[in-house]
Symmetry: C2
Subunit: 485 residues, 2 copies
């Protein structure tokens, strides 16, 4: 059976049993139930609980086998030693999938936990696919399924899948992504991966037409060789962004006690990343930045950056930051320098690359001419432009009150126009600026401007370092993917 | 003459001539004048301008020699070719110091600019010390002197000096530092350093009793050997945090066109950092984080970190991040693990190091017991604890309305108490969390909480990576400084 059909009951359940719900609202069971109700699960929900008859307005059943209608998926949060019995009940009931939230299995490092987990694996082979144990479940906006906790996640779907061995990272990424316009096809926290592991889930995402970009957090793969093969096959078609954690000594130890994973050697992973066109990232911040860049940047995104910003020291820092992540900042030829020299005054600016516009911000018409000149340079693939708008937002760069907004709007609309005219990708650096408590209104406006950029397909980043890293990741991917094809 | 006396007229001028002011409010001259007035310069201000009789309510003089009283410092912003004549006038008037804001000297890369700059150097030798050219001047809250632009800088002094070859970075750091409680003795943007260079200014800071921590941004030192010697002498007594820019190929090129600097080789700098107990940082963010850590962390800050946070994946990431910056995360012995096991439930937590408290936040009394247990572990020098308070602030971790504030206040006050009781430094990671526009109130509260931590001497950082890097920098410094002494 293909993965799409096999995992359909797990991602798109029409009926869901939540096993292990109690009246105690602080417990996982009722918190998950509440998250499902808040989020608006579209199918039927059957709470399973030995005590009581109703929880959160829903009728409860003493056992999953007592549920009147068919059940596609069981969410299980009973204590570890009771999980095998619940799974047996699920098998008897014909339930096709289970997400086991309960922890206390192999990750405890104890014999008993390992034995219990092996038992789960054996039960799975008899006809029920398991996500977990020791996980936070699945978020799939199209079916209304959500993680624990995840009642507040976006209802809209998007092209990004996140396969995460960590529940915390799954939740955190889904939340952090909200403000940056990243939307998901599926987020899966698969924990110890006793049955469905990173390889199975990647195979599913390879087939899933909803998913265009795959992001992963992995502590230790369960099927290393199969996983590497799958990455090799998929990466040239869909970007696979991988945060491999636990590669350091201390990290490896922590991974072992988190999901019973063996960290693996950095060199083995490096080789995989190079051969397979997978994109390695280090941390949630880089993961989110890179996914954001993939959402908006085209295959023509290259390593030769044209950098535009205000302030000489900031240009030096920008050049250093680009170089460190492997972006070129090629010096402009005389023709380009001369054109820039006609726009910018000679003193306090630089018409080489990076372009130092001399001030934090120049008027929109000058900014447009600078961007156009840089976009027309043959040596430039991609443009990174800093717009230190906090100077206007926080009132340190004074403009007449009405003019301020027109000035900003002119600047905000420029990059998308230049991109469309010259066909070169542009990313924007939109720094936070002074962050005292009283400055929070400027931060609110900054977020609005960020959203405006996002709506025009211009990815904004808070620092140049982060922008450069994301651009470098995307450029490296497209170069390797083209070779691999 | 000692540096303190020699540079007194520059840092503490009783009378200041601003040469090159016009009525045009967008020009540097009048913007600088306005900044001085806004900031509240304590001495006399004499605008010097060939045209008109009054600017911004101040009487103007056609030439600095026409000023009736004595003048300590001249701020010069006339076009480059006129600067030598103005300096001659200053010499004639007996002015002791000048800050030359004007650019268009050696940084242009042209013969004419280099010649002009040499002329300035020669004039300086005849009895006037020069800051610049191509700079933004000096910020010294004690005398009311400020940078261009800098009318909104804090009026209070503090123990940090920032010596910056870049005016943009000088302004940016002074602004960014505000929200983090970093206050300055002096900030100097010294630009091309035709007379006073990084070595002179460092020598001054070595003698300046107001200055306890020196931060520097350097593109290319003018007197490399003397500078290295000074660092070696000073660093064991006062931390010297150095951001050396322009070390990459692209960065070196940009530095050359910014301040006519030669970048230098990374290996030479690395050797200096190792021998001299200077603290190398890479970028403004790390510079600010490291200075913040030095402000609050004692000499006992060591490399063996006890890490506390909620969520297994987050613990793995924390361990990786610590390892990458050279912090140890030693596993706890059985005694400590057992004590932690009595506080935390067995499932979904970890009592090794990092400690995974299993949830984003635990009640204050449990948090205190966890911190106390970690602080009492012999293998721990320094504690890094994540407090993901945005879960409460943004309402995703629900507490009864009144209890929420009491819960948070209990958590906020715990670290300082444990630090005082056990004598071990504690830093806090206070993540921003979801950053949609609507979430800006949570950000406002987060900033208030950050300020509360600062007031208790507990340095807060937005990410674990940044906290770990700052702690590692401080720990490395104290270890090397002890050896060097």
């Amino acid at each position: 059976m293909d993965m799409l059909s096999e995992l359909r009951p797990i991602f798109y359940p029409r009926a869901l049993a939540v096993v292990g719900v109690s009246r105690d609202e602080t417990k996982f069971g009722s918190r998950f139930l509440q998250a499902l109700l808040d989020f608006g699960f579209k199918g039927k929900i059957y709470p399973v609980s030995p005590a009581g008859t109703e929880i959160l307005g829903l009728r409860t059943y003493p056992n999953v086998r007592d549920v009147p209608g068919p059940v596609d998926l069981a969410a299980i949060m009973v204590p570890a030693h009771l999980v095998p019995a619940v799974l047996e009940d699920c098998l008897a009931k014909g339930v096709k999938g289970a997400e086991v939230f309960t922890s206390g299995f192999a990750e405890t490092g104890e014999e008993r936990g390992r034995d219990l987990e092996r038992e789960l694996t054996l039960i799975a082979r008899r006809g029920i696919r398991i996500v977990g144990p020791n996980c936070f479940g699945i978020y799939c906006p199209a079916s209304g399924l959500t993680l624990l906790p995840g009642g507040d996640f976006p209802r809209e779907s998007g092209p990004v899948a996140f396969i995460s061995q960590s529940g915390g990272h799954a939740v955190e990424f889904a939340r952090e992504a909200r403000g940056r316009g990243i939307r998901f096809s599926k987020v899966i926290s698969y924990g110890n991966g006793c049955d469905l592991n990173e390889a199975d889930l990647l195979e599913y995402m390879a087939q899933d037409s909803e998913t265009k970009i795959v992001a992963m957090y992995i502590e230790g793969p369960r099927e290393g060789r199969r996983f590497a093969q799958l990455v090799r096959g998929l990466a040239p078609r869909k970007p696979v962004v991988i945060w491999k954690a636990g590669l350091t000594r201390a990290g490896g130890r922590a991974a072992h006690s988190h999901t019973a994973s063996l960290g693996g050697e950095e060199a083995v992973w490096d080789a995989l990343f190079k051969q397979a066109a997978a994109v390695p990232v280090c941390g949630l911040e880089e993961l989110a930045d890179t996914v954001l860049a993939f959402l908006h940047l085209p295959a023509s995104t290259g390593r030769r950056a044209g950098v535009v910003g205000g302030g000489g020291g900031i240009s030096v820092a920008a050049a250093d930051a680009c170089d460190r992540v492997g972006l070129d900042v090629p010096p402009f030829d005389d023709g380009v320098q001369q054109k820039l020299g006609e726009i910018l005054p000679a003193a306090g600016t630089s018409v080489r690359n990076p372009v130092d516009i001399g001030r934090p911000l120049v008027p929109p018409q000058d900014f447009e001419r600078v961007l156009e000149t840089v976009a027309s340079a043959d040596c430039v693939d991609t443009i990174i432009a800093t717009q230190a708008m906090f100077h206007v937002l926080a009132g340190t760069f004074k403009l007449p009150p009405r003019e301020g907004e027109r000035f900003l709007q002119g600047l905000i609309r420029t990059p998308a126009r230049v991109r469309d005219r010259y066909g070169k990708p542009i990313v924007i650096v939109l720094p936070v600026g002074p962050d005292e408590v009283e400055m929070v209104e400027a931060e609110e406006r900054r977020r609005e401007i960020r959203d405006q950029y996002l709506s025009m397909g211009i990815p904004p980043f808070p620092t140049l370092e982060r922008a450069a890293r994301a651009v470098a990741n995307v450029a490296t991917y497209f170069a390797r993917a083209a070779q691999a094809r």
